[in-house]
Symmetry: C2
Subunit: 692 residues, 2 copies
Amino acid sequence: MKRLLLGEPLTSSGQDQQLLRKRMALPIFASDALSSVAYAPQELLMILLLGGLSFLTFSPWIALAVVVLLAVVVLSYRQLITAYPSGGGDYEVARTNLGEVPGVVVASALLVDYILTVAVSVAAGVDNIISALPVLNPWRVELAIGFVALLVAVNLRGVREASRAFALPTYLFIGSVGVMVATGLVRWAVGDAPVASSAQFGVEADGLTQVAVVLLLLRAFASGCSALTGVEAIANGVPAFRPPKDRNARTTLAIMGVIAISLFAGLTTLALVSGVRYAEDPCRLIGFDCSLPQPSLMAQVAAATFGMGSVPFYIVQATTACVLLLAANTAFNGFPLLGSVLARDGYAPKSLNTRGDRLVYSNGMILLGIAALAVLLIFQADLTTLIQLYIIGVFVSFSLGQIGMVRHWNRELRLIPRSATLERHAALRGRVVNSLGAVMTVVVLVIVTVTKFTHGAWLIFLAIPVLTALMMGVRRYYLHVEEETAIDDSVHFGSRGDVALVLVGSLHKPAAKAIDYALAARHDTTIAVHVSVTPRDTAQLEADWEEHHVPVPLVILESPYRQYAGPLAAFIGEYRKKHGSSVVTIYLPQYIVGHWWESFLHNRRARRLTQRLMLVHGVVVTLVPWMLDSSRLLYRRAARPLPGDDRAGLPATYGLVAHLAPAADAEPAADAEPPDPVPPERVPPERRSLEG
Amino acid sequence: MKRLLLGEPLTSSGQDQQLLRKRMALPIFASDALSSVAYAPQELLMILLLGGLSFLTFSPWIALAVVVLLAVVVLSYRQLITAYPSGGGDYEVARTNLGEVPGVVVASALLVDYILTVAVSVAAGVDNIISALPVLNPWRVELAIGFVALLVAVNLRGVREASRAFALPTYLFIGSVGVMVATGLVRWAVGDAPVASSAQFGVEADGLTQVAVVLLLLRAFASGCSALTGVEAIANGVPAFRPPKDRNARTTLAIMGVIAISLFAGLTTLALVSGVRYAEDPCRLIGFDCSLPQPSLMAQVAAATFGMGSVPFYIVQATTACVLLLAANTAFNGFPLLGSVLARDGYAPKSLNTRGDRLVYSNGMILLGIAALAVLLIFQADLTTLIQLYIIGVFVSFSLGQIGMVRHWNRELRLIPRSATLERHAALRGRVVNSLGAVMTVVVLVIVTVTKFTHGAWLIFLAIPVLTALMMGVRRYYLHVEEETAIDDSVHFGSRGDVALVLVGSLHKPAAKAIDYALAARHDTTIAVHVSVTPRDTAQLEADWEEHHVPVPLVILESPYRQYAGPLAAFIGEYRKKHGSSVVTIYLPQYIVGHWWESFLHNRRARRLTQRLMLVHGVVVTLVPWMLDSSRLLYRRAARPLPGDDRAGLPATYGLVAHLAPAADAEPAADAEPPDPVPPERVPPERRSLEG
């Protein structure tokens, strides 16, 4: 089942073949930034429209400001890739240059962003699907959930398959939106400007004070800045590029910047030309019929240019929806990678740094999917609300990253000798670019914070510190554990005194197997222990013990309170009082069953007891499995053997070990390995590969 | 926390002191039957009213039929107690006399009945509370759920406390309802008959065909039979009586019968006299104002007799509600007891036969609570619907129990010699009584089935076979496991060849402890095994190994697929090929943490690996605990030591066993127990008590 869903497992050395060409990396990492074009103009115009129709005249200027900012940020990130090609991105830059806490703050902001990237992109994608197929409107949230689940499944299969499946739609999106913009602008130039269906709607607005006007313009700019989201993705994904990694990444970033700027500018212009009205509250503000969903700006422009319901209209909508889903997919590359870096550095649970069968960080992907689903459910897949949350986190990491880069270049300049003119020149240029980037992103962060705080952004100002505190706590915890368990002078080998206690409920084969194995391990002393709860069972056991000539002494412990761990712990205490301190190994027979429901039919005593006994000083617990017939199912289910794992070929352990026939070409066990009373010598480590 | 809620633990020998006097057993076991009086007359009259007001003239005759039936059933159960005083009740009778399947069918019916006893009694109790305090009406279901939770909590504390807490209300109920009936009848006799507030309502009804009339009368009789529910409780609870158990139980049953008949007859008469109208659909049928809850029959009679809102009215309602809750409590005695008997016989999971700290079968109680909650939620605590379900199960077990008793006496009569006149006489009388009981209960079962089948009873005809099949399946499973694990000729001790593999990730104290313990156990061979997933970690381990002079050889297994179990299983296979078959003990270091959230921060690899490795032939897994500092919490939480359990006094295992100072008066361990190369001799079992 797992195989069918995920495909064959991949070897660790297969990692290099998973690296991406530029033409594959562009759809994977740039789709986030490119897809922003699908919602940024819409959010920008929507805010302006709050002030009335006349405010739309400001839009070219605000769009220009966004374009300039986008260009500066792209240039800044090219510098970042040069300096930090290892893919830690803003997190690594901030941690290295600004210190631990800013680094973790950036990491928190990025983690939140990845989650919101999924939520925003899926919500926008669903919006565009519904714009083309309004009958799907009642299933908005369900559709969003379905797409997130699909993304998790696709990504668990591994990075290259995902790339292949999604490369085409991105190029189709760039192509179709490009053709649409060109067509529209040409029609405008020849005097046949397209007219949007909503162009008829007027907008009533109260007169605004001068302060309110400025604030509204700033808010519109802040919303337009959502066009910048996702620019950082390439800088975080450098290790996934083919060598020369940093040059390829920089080139891809530049290509992406040019495409994003063209599409954003073109689409905004076309929307203005065709007179699109998109409002936050369409029924009240523009008299829209609210029984239908408001079509997205993209859909309105496409309908105006190509005609509603025409084939090119559907192509634009389909590729837009696809590229938005691919943008969500970007986060499924970034989040697990960042998670694994954080886990490596000790800020996140180690399980995030474990690659699954398919070489992807499965746990991180599943975590991201769950978080995105939660966000989509809580905000009911409402795009505008989600974007308010989104921009803050993006600019927190932008700003801290750029400030860190300025520091980086300052330090570099101190280190580079005056003679190395070329390097100094590069570093100076880097400092200028990143300083500009830092100033601009900080200013935008302030604008975004001021204008969006009450619109939901406060949630992010809560989430980032909480995440930061959690990660610092995890780090402290790991350091503490490491300190606690580090080898020191107190460690010396050679404990003496050893007793094995075999816990016996009644004399059946599982108990006999445990006794046999305990004897085979040649402990100093082996004792069978029975905790007497029901006198009848105890009497039966004593009789069986005599009858079957069991070769170990049986000790019976009275348990007036029907407990097991208590009397056992007391017995161990008494034993040590008599015989000196010793290592105690408790053998517990345990059933292995094949169906989940069988576990209800067996006492979970062995498991509970294990947990309790492990708390007793100097005690280890040996679980002796007894496979019931039904456990053959476990083999049947795992019937397809993995390479290097002959699990499926192993026989089930039905009887005692005595049943295990020695391999035909092997000497008898007892002769091959005579008991060795002196402690084994230290043998130099021997490297041993199963492949060879 | 657990102690606070449940009280001190009790010893197994304390069981006798938990036995009940008759005056305590009556409220515990008879409250179910007595409390039926609170709803049986109401359900009887409600059905009759469907036919119109004139049908109320039939009610004395129907009530008489119910009384006769009740008397016969009480007499029948007195015979059953004589013959089967062990408390298996109808289940034991049916299983012994009719065979396995009928026995299990009765058990299923009884289990269902116990669940419905709780649901019906709680629902009726809440109805009576709401009749007195109508403001509580919106919280009907919530109140019912709260009461079930309370009952579970009270009963987990143990049987005697429950009895004490509930004895007084039962006697108050008998007293107050008795006084009410007497007062009402006296007032009637002196010509001042009480008049119910609903007496004004007329009932419109269509003319009925003769068949419909008969069917309606039979339905009314069937509903009136709900007065019989709970009669079997005493027969099932005989072991909880003080000796002479059977005589005391028989006496209690007779007392209960007399009281139940008096109250039922009296209350029905009084309801007729005062003209109470109680309808299934009060707004339509009797023009009742449905914005208010319809008061129960008991409340209407009490209001008519004593005046609405008077002190005696509230006393009657309070004691009625209390005795209904006590009836629900009956099931919390019966269900776990039956569950433990079934578990003992192998028809139910063994965990139902495990007594908790307080000598009660805790698991059974919790199971009953959950089932009752589910039923209450599904049927929204609607009394009439629940009663339809209830009666069927009751009469299934009545009928099969009585038929079984007839068979029992037949067999007895064959066995008793002709000379033993006294015994023969008793057996003959028993046969007559039980035959009468059998005939009557079977007839009633048919009537109840016919009249109630479409009203919800079909659910029971589904539930009983399903439960029966499940229990038969459980039995088959246990027999199969027993057969599989029974000691046979294939069992012989003395496996040879033994190797310990210590799984090492990196060289920290937990790994060092595992190595130290493996050495202390003196296996034939001890090898440290490292599964190489990250080359850097492996290199570090090799360096540490050299540096710290670890006295065991280190084997490194390449794991190209980042798996652990696979390469280990392959290594074991290769080792056996070279050295012959051997018992393999795998030592796994495992962290013990103090907070639940810490487990997220450690890989669960040890647990997953344990599950996988236990599937490999001839492998046992030894868990070597390493207590992190935080695990001290576990000791603090369990700070109050139990008698015979010095758990709280044990020091936590922080370091290696070498840190464990030998007890002052003990010889050194090595001298006390020199390694013994010959297998230990069989020593006769030694009985050893920690109490002495």
